[in-house]
């Protein structure tokens, strides 16, 4: 299934903050971020990934992609006329410290 990745400006700003904080470890964190997105793309929603829903809409999640850090995202599924999923969108909202 196709997967669009949609980073917001806020996400990039926080990525900068993460870079400032991690310094030379940023490359590892970015690799972990990409790996997390790849996993999300084919995720069966079986509870096997370290993500938790939050908010009232039920479509936003936090994902601890790197020890001590989460990224937050919203997942949308586009469906065809037979209600079959054809594409998912991962809207990347922010990078935060894990609580």
């Amino acid at each position: 299934m196709d997967c669009l990745v949609i980073p917001s400006d806020t996400f990039y700003e926080r990525l900068s903050s993460l870079d400032e904080e991690l310094g030379s470890s940023t490359a590892d964190a970015l690799s972990a971020l990409v790996e997390a997105l790849k996993r999300l793309k084919s995720y069966a929603w079986d509870g096997s990934l370290p993500l938790k829903p939050y908010g009232s809409s039920g479509s936003s999640y936090e994902y601890e992609f790197y020890p001590g850090f989460v990224f937050t995202f919203r997942r949308e599924t586009e469906r065809d006329r037979w209600k079959q999923p054809v594409r998912i969108k991962l809207v990347l909202k922010s990078v935060q410290r894990a609580s």
């Binding site: 990745v5 400006d9 990039y12 926080r14 904080e21 939050y54 809207v91 909202k93 410290r97 609580s99």
Partner: protein, 142 residues
Amino acid sequence: MDVSNTTGRQNTGYRVVGSGGHAPGQRARLSTFGTPEALQEDLRAERDIEEGRFETFSSVEEFARQLPERLARIREERLIDAGELPPKGEVVSPGSGSEPFRVVFHFEGKEVASATFFKEPTVVRLVEDELGFRVEAEARHS
């Protein structure tokens, strides 16, 4: 004044500086998930999406490919904000007709072309041909 890059190269840049100069920005520290600060950030990200402040990549792989370049840009902007690097390019607006406009284009951190105008042009663009980079401008019609 519009400033554009027609070379097809991705990592050229310029910065527009208003008459007051570029104020160093303070970058926010990471918030902790679940705090009111993080909630505000979440709302801000949703507003970004509503108001078109986002990028779209057709795959995770495409997003991954641009990340190193994006990170390099983020770092450069941070150094500029901290005053540790000069602005990548400048358009200084004069208060009177006596001060010229200067536009500087950079590629991979180096100045590649610049131009000075005594009258504000409407469009300034960076072009690349067999002789190298140069600046082209369109005059303002008055």
